[in-house]
Amino acid sequence: MTITLTINGLEKTFEIDPGEKLLEVLRREGYMSVKKGCGTGDCGACAILFNGRSVNSCLVFAAKADGGEILTVEGLATGEILHPVQTAFLAEGAVQCGYCTPGMVMTTVDLLTRNPDPTESEIREALSGNLCRCTGYVKQVRAVQRAAELMKDGGSHV
């Protein structure tokens, strides 16, 4: 069947199998930032924003998303100018292998859009569905806090 998605601001139409999930479809369309970690909604590596909310793309039927808006990591930076969340993750040393990073970043964007000044507890709760095996989460929490500061300053710099 044919579906239309607005991905990172660009409207795209393509063919899918009716049973496919957003994860497979997005990767096939070249959005490689969307990672598969488990395929069962347990790890959050595949997280993207669907109509503004962070979701496990491995569990959302692509057909369900028809007509909707998708935001992936590829849609965050403008050329070399990073989104504050990306800047913060780099600056705080919160990226080790980087495999969980796209999912973490998108969930963080969701959080900070809704709650620009989250407490540490709110940060941990918001990211509780994004698993990481490398970092122990310590610097990731700091990165979200730093991103919140950067976004309050209206900054979005390298």
Binding site: A45, T72, A91, G93, G98, Y99, I123, R133, K139, V141
Partner: protein, 773 residues
């Protein structure tokens, strides 16, 4: 920044990772992110039985299915025995694996593989494969394995390197110092514990994945998520029976390893499919296969017996380890040996020591390398016994450690008696800040204020515990690392190294070392790593070797290049080369006159006595300097439900000079959290038929954001004279802390000694109730 590091320009700074931009913008840098046309997808058929012979296998229906390109079984694949363990050649692991066999030895063991146009087609084809099995009695525990008359798991005649296959014993180690029997007789106090650790899995968020294809010269390219690209090349060549030079292995960005990717697990399959079909082939293990059929932590039973004199000095230490290596012997000997070699030297004051043990086969998931590598299992009973001994002697646990732990300038006879399964290498500690680690950690946790107080808050009882440990940095006299640097005429450098960055940040750290020597900012280094065609040899990322061994290779290479630069610049500045210094992108004469590195290289490239400024250097380490760690934890135990909450965790670590403090902290933070999962919630649960009952993150619980205690990681700097810029290592040691520290804290809180991990609420509660009776 540390005191030592203050005199550095680049080293000692938490600079941003060289691959950071690519990772944070989601660039297609991982194995499965490369999409090639005509790629085949491979699926593996795994055994439903723990132990069986394949009496017949009929793949005709699968082969005939449209979209299926090839089907592999033991009938049509090379029979060469090899080990899957990514270790230096000749590997200290038995050659007991074949691509496919007419025997299966654990639930999930390879039976067949299908390559098809899509994953779905490959899976459908698997269902068409008709297999007849003759089920054999299965060995489902270490004790069963060694019983008289136990089924022989490796009854084949062509697997060399097994200690005693007829008794399912992969490896046997027995070393001693002095006479422990006499030592115990002479001791005033004796303590003994036997601890059992569970099956656990690394769960890197990216599963094992390989993409293979033939390049234009018809060479086989393996783009794989591995910690050991050079071992992959050698072992795949051996397994497939093709010349090694026909293979190129590339490790791009990978999503974590922690030891499970120190293994040549799937590259042979993909490689053979590409060779047979001429097409690219992608094989990605499912999360379920990661649990069933990749590698695990070795479950172990470890007994520690300590004998001490009244004054607190240890007089005898005995450690007996039995390790369950699963159906294949990969890393069986070496993990067993490291259980003793990374633990016993810590308490070098004991004149009598004995380490012995065996690694045994079972028809269960296969143990492999896992961060900590035996030391994790060994420190559990050792540090628990020390805790108990302190109580018996009326000493503070910290005091008992201080009396007995190895100090700067000291050695232990264990170092040369026990290495990677064979003899080791003698060494003295040239850097050791363990005393300060203990001081800092004790103060930070509030040790004297909290120990023995059993503060009660509702049904929660608080307690504090501690442990100390050491690890190593690389495998002395065995590991080798090399690097190549070439200079470009704009003053930038290409750094080519075999060293393997699995997310650890080694690309960055090693480039910082090179940049430091060459007097340039990190941004002037262009890093290429882990490509067997382009980069010189490196054993790979294991044994905490990358910073210490690969780093020294990089330092030596950079020094050679620096000398060449001085040779070119000397006539330009009209001084002798020996008077020159290198910093801020330029060469400086004593007068202050300088010439930019770009000018130097332009001269060497285009103008006078032209040559390529560049060099290669290697490093074989002659010792394995230990990082040291003191762990402290405050826990709260719920006496109603048995739940253990970590209130505060403190780790003070001496890793030498931290080349990049953020990366070093990151290693500690990640290792500790992994260790906390191993201590409290992670457990692969096996059925009575040897099947994994919880092969998913849904029921194998690893820590998430809401499970992390407040943690203090303190880098306590020392300077290791044999290490690059004074560095040692930090990759593994952190994971060894949580189990013994939490166990000792639980004892302080509720007076029970838990000897089985994980410390689930159910186990804790049962122990509390039993103690009350």
């Amino acid at each position: 920044m540390s005191n030592q590091a203050k005199k550095f320009a680049t080293v000692g700074k938490s600079l941003r990772k060289v691959d950071g931009f690519a990772l944070v913008t989601g660039k297609p840098e991982f194995v499965a992110d490369l999409q090639l046309p005509d790629t085949l997808h491979i699926k593996i058929l795994g055994s439903p039985y723990a132990h069986a012979r394949i009496t017949s296998i009929d793949v005709s229906a699968a082969e005939a299915m449209p979209g299926v390109a090839c089907v592999l079984t033991h009938h049509n694949t090379p029979p060469h025995r090899h080990t899957t363990a990514g270790q230096g050649y000749p590997e200290p692991s038995p050659y007991d694996s074949r691509m496919f066999e007419n025997k299966v030895r654990f639930v999930g063991d390879r039976v067949a593989a299908v390559a098809a146009e899509t994953e779905a087609l490959a899976e459908a084809a698997l269902k068409l494969i008709r297999v007849q099995y003759e089920e054999l009695p299965a060995v489902l525990s270490m004790d069963e394995a060694r019983r008289d008359g136990a089924p022989v798991i490796h009854d084949e005649t062509d697997s060399p390197g097994i200690y005693d296959a007829s008794r399912n014993i992969v490896a046997d180690v027995d070393i001693d110092v002095g006479d422990v029997k006499k030592g115990f007789e002479e001791s005033d106090e004796i303590v003994e514990f036997t601890c059992e650790t569970q099956y656990a899995q690394h769960t890197p968020i990216e599963t094992h994945v390989v993409m293979s294809y033939l390049d234009s010269a018809h060479r086989l390219v393996l783009r794989t998520s591995t910690q050991v690209p050079f071992h992959v090349r050698r072992i795949v060549a051996q397994t497939l029976g093709i010349p090694m030079q026909q293979i190129r292995v590339i490790k791009p960005r990978i999503g974590g390893g922690f030891g499970t990717k120190q293994e040549v697990l799937i590259e042979d399959l993909a490689g053979l499919v590409s060779l047979r079909t001429g097409r690219p082939a992608l094989l990605s293990l499912t999360r379920r296969e990661e649990f069933d059929a990749s590698r695990t932590r070795h479950p172990m039973r470890v007994r520690v017996k300590l004998g001490a004199k009244k004054d607190g000095r240890l007089h005898a230490i005995e450690m007996e380890a039995t390790s369950n290596t699963g159906a294949y012997g990969s890393h069986g000997l070496t993990v067993l040996a490291n259980t003793g070699s990374k633990t016993l030297p810590l308490y070098n004051k004991a004149p009598n020591a004995h380490f012995y043990g065996q690694a045994v086969y079972t028809n269960l998931p296969v143990g492999g390398a896992y961060r900590g590598y035996g030391a994790t299992q060994g420190y559990f009973p050792l540090e628990m016994a020390m805790d108990e001994m302190a109580e018996r002697l009326g000493l503070d646990p910290i005091e008992l450690r201080r009396i007995n732990h190895i100090q700067l300038g000291e050695t232990s006879p264990i170092f040369e008696k026990l290495g990677e399964g064979r003899e080791g290498v003698s060494q003295t500690m040239k850097s050791c800040e363990l005393p300060r680690c203990i001081d800092i950690g004790a103060e930070r946790i509030g040790w004297t204020k909290k120990r023995g107080k059993r503060l009660k808050v509702g049904s929660w009882v608080h307690g504090v515990g501690m442990s100390i440990m050491m690890q190593g940095s690389g495998i002395p006299e065995i590991d080798m690392a090399a690097a190549t640097i070439k200079m470009n005429e704009d003053g930038s450098f290409n750094l080519l190294m075999g060293a393997t960055d699995l997310g650890t940040g080694s690309d960055t750290i090693l480039a910082q070392i090179a940049a430091e020597v060459l007097g340039v900012p990190l941004t002037k280094m262009i890093v290429t790593s882990s490509d067997t065609d382009l980069t010189p040899f490196d054993v790979g990322a294991y044994a905490s070797s990358t910073t210490y061994v690969s780093g020294m290779a990089v330092q030596r290479t950079a020094e050679k290049v620096r000398d060449q630069i001085f040779g070119v610049a000397a006539p330009m500045l009209d001084v002798s080369a020996g008077e020159l210094t290198l910093h801020d992108d330029a060469v400086f004469a004593p007068s202050g006159q300088s010439v930019g590195l770009d000018r130097v290289c332009q001269r060497a490239t285009y103008e006078t006595d032209q040559f390529q400024i560049g060099a290669t250097a290697s490093c074989v380490p002659h010792e394995s300097p230990a990082p040291f760690l003191a762990n402290f934890a405050e826990v709260a135990v719920n006496t109603e439900t048995g739940k253990v909450k970590i209130v505060h965790y403190v780790a003070a670590v001496d890793c030498g000079v931290a080349i990049n403090p953020h990366m070093a902290e990151g290693q500690m933070e990640g290792a500790i959290v992994n260790g906390i999962g191993y201590a409290l919630t992670e457990e692969m649960i096996l059925s009575s038929k040897g099947r994994v009952r919880n092969p998913s993150l849904f029921d194998y619980k690893i820590p998430g954001m809401l499970d992390i205690p407040p943690m203090d990681i303190i880098l306590v700097e020392s300077y290791e004279p044999t290490g690059p810029m004074g560095a040692k290592s930090v990759g593994e040691i952190g994971i060894n802390g949580p189990i013994p520290t939490i166990a000792n804290a639980i004892y302080d809180a509720v007076g029970i000694r838990l000897t089985e991990t994980p410390f689930t609420p159910e186990r804790v509660l049962k122990a509390i109730k039993t103690a009350a009776e």
